[in-house]
Symmetry: C2
Subunit: 127 residues, 2 copies
DNA sequence: ATAGATGCAAAGGGTTTGCACTTGA
DNA sequence: TCAAGTGCAAACCCTTTGCATCTAT
């Protein structure tokens, strides 16, 4: 990751303009608005490189393909909509998980994933 | 899933004899002790069918391939040891996640994964 | 000029599927 | 008997990689 290329600029821009974690093919489509010839192979190579440098963070949710988001955000979790499959950030935390930790274990991090319907899908389901 | 076959009996037996969640290829190897000609395709078809019928549960942890365990266990979460990579069941829950849910969203389930060192690895790291 | 980056196509790894054969009821 | 189940191989999907070409420096 030594050179500035229009492909990398385009991919960086995508993450500047998108809060929620993105799938590689979503990154491809969004970045192709800037660089139409961009290939999926380059997207993968660039995403992995950005994670290595610490610019991006790999977001792994249960039963979901890996997504990517900007690193350095405040501690947060995710809400997966069962209907539209979108992933939303949740800017609140359930408090200490310490009471869940078995004796002798040392916890250094936790991951919470909520499932249900997002606001839009919830509204639709009621009409 | 209407007939009793030796393949299905063998796969059921594997889950009777194993507490921890298993990967499809682990199921294959274990079940082949009973039915050596068992194929991976049949393992996948049978696992999916067993999940449909509710005999098995799909266990998805972040960044982990799907595993299968007997259904009907008490609500629990998982602790992943960063050192030995083992997955432990956590038989306690952090309480309500409701306060984390954004306005308009409807949550129906949650998944918590804890990360750190298990008792054994924690002890070792201090010596 | 030249090493790094890209695009394409082929290769991988895990899972599913089409099809002819086998087998449980 | 004969539809459900099986095994095999091919197909799929997502991700990575080899290689020739392009390009930032």
């Amino acid at each position: 990751m030594q050179r500035e290329t229009k492909q990398r600029d385009a991919i960086r821009l995508v993450f500047d303009e998108n809060e929620s974690p993105l799938l590689p093919n979503e990154v491809l489509k969004l970045a192709q608005k800037t660089v139409p010839t961009l290939s999926l192979a380059t997207v993968y190579r660039t995403l992995n490189a950005f994670v290595q440098e610490g610019m991006l963070r790999l977001v792994s949710l249960p039963a979901e393909a890996p997504r990517f988001e900007r690193a350095g955000k405040h501690h947060h979790h995710h809400f997966v909509c069962r209907n539209c499959k979108k992933v939303f950030e949740v800017h609140a935390c359930a408090g200490s998980m310490q009471k869940m930790v078995p004796a002798g274990f040392e916890m250094d991090d936790h991951e919470i994933t909520l499932y249900g319907l997002c606001a839009d899908c919830s509204k639709q389901s009621k009409n």
